[in-house]
């Protein structure tokens, strides 16, 4: 006998509880990770905020962002008031209060003053490496996408480049150290003794010496550029391939050479894509510690990179401070205490804000470009 109620079965379906269990397990794991992220960022923001935000206008502690990094001196004066002064102000205080006794003096390296040096160093490293990586990366991408025949050899080359992206950054650091710091060629009048090879040049007294660039901004930029080259090449090649074949055909059919076609009909339309994809590489460059540890970064530096230089190009061969390395130094090299927290968490917060701004900027740019470039 036909019973319509049999069509829609009543009661719980088979496997109902198992389904709920799986669902809550997967959801729980997801939200656990979100919770960890929230805790992490919360901790950094809560502890770091006092270092860079103030209650008065302009609500940002400009000194922390613009002052040089110094040693922090903590001491009590004769009245029992506790002072926290960076080295320069401490010296002024001592001079001003000559003859007065101070008590309980403690010093904390790198914890006083601001972090202008690391911010500037990171900016210089990032700019330099992005310029290098874009130049070499776009050249390689143009060759791979436009000129090279799609043979098995080219596929192997492409695969090799992709694999380069998976190499740990510390390996790049060591590579940069052994190649750029110790072996890269320089033109100099007096080669050092450890130079690997000295080739005399035609100009009297000058020689091409493979003695390396020492630990310098130049070596750091080159190392970082090597690290992000695979990302830039891959992104650029994809952007080049995204340009419709019709543009190339039209240009070639009008009697354009291969290079004219690329320069006028392919590059202009792929450049926005190349640039936005490369912005993601910027965040990676800005954040890496390992590649610059041996090649460019120093923990402490009294001058800004451009100070005390004979000519402006010497900035390339000067060492710099860098934010990620500064954070590493603050975290690993000095004992943590209530007086170092401002510098530690402040630096991390500033760093996070910078990286977040870059990421957000690249996302907005990308969205805008996608809207604009339609054919």
């Amino acid at each position: 006998m036909f019973n319509p109620e049999n069509l829609i079965r009543k009661g719980l379906p088979k496997g109902y509880f198992k389904d709920i269990l799986v669902r809550s397990l997967l959801g729980g794991i997801t939200y656990l990770m979100v919770l960890i992220a929230v805790l992490l960022f919360g901790k950094i923001i809560i502890d770091g905020a006092p270092a860079i935000f103030t209650s008065e206008f302009p609500f940002v502690d400009t000194e922390f962002l613009t002052a040089k990094n110094e040693t922090l001196h903590v001491f009590d004066d004769a009245k029992g008031t506790r002072h926290q002064l960076p080295a320069s102000k401490y010296n002024e205080y001592i001079e001003a209060h000559a003859g007065q006794q101070i008590y309980n003096e403690q010093t904390f390296s790198y914890s006083g003053g601001g972090i202008a040096g690391p911010i500037i160093g990171t900016a210089l490293l990032t700019c330099g490496s992005i310029i290098l990586a874009l130049f070499f990366g776009v050249c390689a991408a143009i060759y791979l996408a436009e000129y090279a025949k799609q043979s098995p050899f080219i596929h192997a080359v492409r695969l090799a480049i992709l694999n380069l992206a998976g190499i740990p950054s510390i390996v790049f650091g060591l590579f940069g150290f052994s190649v750029f710091v110790l072996a890269a060629p320089v033109i100099t009048a007096n080669p050092v003794d450890r130079s690997l090879l000295v080739l005399p040049l035609f100009i009297e007294g000058w020689a091409l010496s493979f003695q390396g660039w020492n630990s310098s901004l130049m070596a750091g930029c080159a190392t970082l550029a090597c690290m992000i080259l695979p990302v830039v090449i891959t992104a650029s090649e994809e952007s080049l391939r995204a340009v419709p074949q019709g543009f190339r055909d039209a240009s070639l059919a009008m009697g354009g050479t291969r290079w004219q076609t690329i320069r006028k009909c392919v590059l202009p339309f792929s450049l926005p894509g190349i640039l936005t994809s490369s912005l993601l590489a910027i965040t990676r460059v800005a954040g890496e510690t390992a590649p610059i540890m041996f090649t460019a970064a120093v923990a402490a530096k009294d001058d800004f990179p451009w100070e005390g230089l004979a000519n402006p190009f010497d900035i390339l061969s000067s060492q710099v401070q860098a934010l990620p390395y500064h954070i590493y130094t603050l975290a690993a090299r000095i004992p943590s205490s209530e007086y170092t927290q401002r510098a530690q968490f402040g630096s991390v917060l500033v760093f996070l804000i910078l990286v977040a701004m870059l990421s957000f900027g690249s996302m907005v740019l990308r969205a805008k470009m996608r809207k604009k470039l339609k054919w």
Binding site: D249, L252, A253, M254, G255, G256
Partner: protein, 275 residues
């Protein structure tokens, strides 16, 4: 054909042999041409003479080789890996174009091409038409402006776009875009204009305009039109070649081809019995 048009013939070793009318009434001579993509043969022993200042239509079912032949005439097939001419030759204005001494860039300046899908650059209308001239190193603004106006007038597009030359070419309708591509091609004054199904993406009115355009331009240029549309071939061409499976089945006056074809298969195709 004036001398300035023949940039391809400026190469010194060729100049002596070539006078513009040397090829008789033929702009393009295709002699015993065979062509392969890798191992598959796309064209078999094609011999065909294309009249100067006339429209020749290539018809035939898909994959019959008509587009391949068209792309051979300005060596666009060079871009395809593994594609090569296996036998025979193509002579454009007395120059064998597959000869190693021929510069393919110069060849393409004399043999322009309009593609199936209209492909204006995402630049202004002016820049689209001036593109070929700029590539040739012409920077003089007055010369460019004059040339752009001439080309747009010739392409019957001037009145529609003269007030918005600096707007993006992508704002034009499909038919206008295709006429812009034609204007862009004739702006560099080629000898031969190859058209690969120029109207397949256009509505009947836009198609009619492009066809009118071909008729009106034929006094200055030699046209080769590949088309799937038999009516278009009958409307627009002086001579028609019918291809099937990489072979040329029949070639002759369009009026004769469409009224009284000599080969049975041509008749079958034209009357719609297959294809």
């Amino acid at each position: 054909m004036n001398a300035t048009n023949n940039s391809m013939q400026e190469s010194p070793e060729k100049t002596a042999a070539s006078t513009p009318q040397a090829g008789g009434n033929c702009a393009v001579q295709i002699q015993n041409l065979s062509f392969s993509y890798g191992s598959s043969e796309a064209l078999k022993n094609i011999t065909l003479d294309l009249d100067r200042n006339a429209v020749t239509a290539f018809i035939g079912p898909s994959g019959c080789g008509k587009s391949t032949l068209l792309r051979c005439i300005n060596r666009m097939n060079d871009e395809i890996i593994g594609a090569r001419v296996t036998a025979g030759k193509i002579i454009v204005e007395d120059i064998e174009i597959h000869d190693p001494s021929v510069d393919v860039v110069k060849l393409r300046r004399d043999v322009g091409m309009v593609f199936q899908k209209s492909n204006p650059f995402p630049r202004s209308i002016f820049e689209n038409v001036a593109f070929g001239l700029r590539m040739r190193g012409i920077r003089n603004k007055a010369v460019l402006e004059q040339s752009v106006e001439e080309s747009l007038r010739a392409a019957a597009l001037w009145d529609e776009v003269k007030d918005r030359l600096n707007e993006s070419a992508l704002g034009l309708s499909g038919g206008q875009q295709q006429r812009l591509c034609i204007a862009r091609t004739i702006a560099v004054k080629p000898l031969v204009v190859l058209m690969d199904e120029p109207c397949s993406a256009l509505d009947p009115i836009a198609t009619a305009k492009v066809e009118e355009l071909i008729w009106s331009l034929k006094k200055d240029y030699t046209f080769v039109v590949v088309t799937h549309n038999m009516h278009q071939a009958s409307r627009v061409s002086d001579k028609t070649a019918f291809f099937y499976m990489g072979e040329m089945i029949e070639f002759g006056e369009t009026t004769k081809m469409f009224t009284n074809p000599t080969v049975k298969r041509t008749e079958d195709y034209i009357s719609g019995r297959f294809g």
